[in-house]
């Protein structure tokens, strides 16, 4: 579920680092998105680098994503920042 805010944040952050606003990787809950190069198993690897995470609005999934982002930042030896968009 992408909102205008998350798209704006994504593109604003990308504008800092990239002149042509491209996403090198993305993850989706839908396996059909593989045809466009999506990864579909976000929690099978550590988050690294700079990311935007807008998980589905399921309490356990959001909590899992938040914990995963914290653990990723804690153990990563490279610069890591995950911008979480969470309903409240």
């Amino acid at each position: 579920m992408w909102g205008e805010a998350s798209i704006k944040i994504a593109f604003t952050l990308l504008a800092f680092y990239s002149s042509d606003h491209k996403f090198p990787h993305y993850w989706s809950e839908h396996s059909r998105d593989k045809v466009f190069g999506a990864n579909t198993s976000a929690f099978s690897s550590q988050f690294s680098g700079f990311s935007i995470c807008h998980p589905i609005y399921h309490e356990n999934t959001m909590l899992l994503a938040t914990g995963h982002a914290i653990h990723s930042a804690a153990v990563s030896t490279e610069e890591t920042a995950t911008f979480m968009l969470l309903p409240s």
Partner: protein, 161 residues
């Protein structure tokens, strides 16, 4: 103060989690997804606000500040509908606090691979996670290698072929 489980978890690690801002429920809307038959499925009006939280390590913070010390102010300008918490983001490390995370069962987590060489496999519940890591690496002036056309081409064989 928000008391949902995610916010509570973030407050346990204030050295790594920064509440950047909140978009009030009446100030944001979700993108309308175009359907192939032009039929829009009505979605009930949301009642929640949207929090923007940065979860980072010291290197991440330093890298953002090194690129642009006003990055948060500029982000706030781009998204005026949000209520931002515009304090300065400091560069200093949080060695002591980071130690507390080390006790929370990270041994298994350490075995997980890094996310950028990953191939697509298996379904997951996470809706969207976009990584700009290949663009950054603190080589900020370096242009990315991928071209737009590569990003939009199919990565697997068409099932009809």
């Amino acid at each position: 103060m928000t008391t949902n489980p995610c916010a509570s978890l973030c407050r346990k690690y204030p050295h790594m989690c920064k509440f950047l801002g909140t978009i009030p429920s009446d100030q944001f809307q979700y993108a309308k997804v175009p359907f192939w038959n032009n039929i829009q499925i009505p979605v009930s009006k949301h009642s929640w606000k949207l929090q923007i939280i940065a979860i980072w390590n010291t290197k991440g913070r330093v890298c953002l500040n090194a690129h642009n010390k006003d990055w948060l102010k500029e982000l706030a300008k781009e998204i005026p509908e949000a209520k931002w918490e515009l304090q300065n983001i400091h560069n200093h490390p949080y060695q002591t606090a980071l130690g507390s995370v080390q006790h929370s069962g990270l041994n298994k987590f350490n075995k997980l691979p890094n996310d950028h060489p990953q191939a697509s496999e298996g379904p997951d519940k996470t809706s969207a996670l976009i990584s700009t890591d290949q663009l950054l690496k603190c080589n900020i002036d370096e242009a990315p290698q991928n071209s737009s056309s590569q990003n939009l081409t199919r990565k697997v064989k068409d099932w009809r072929d």
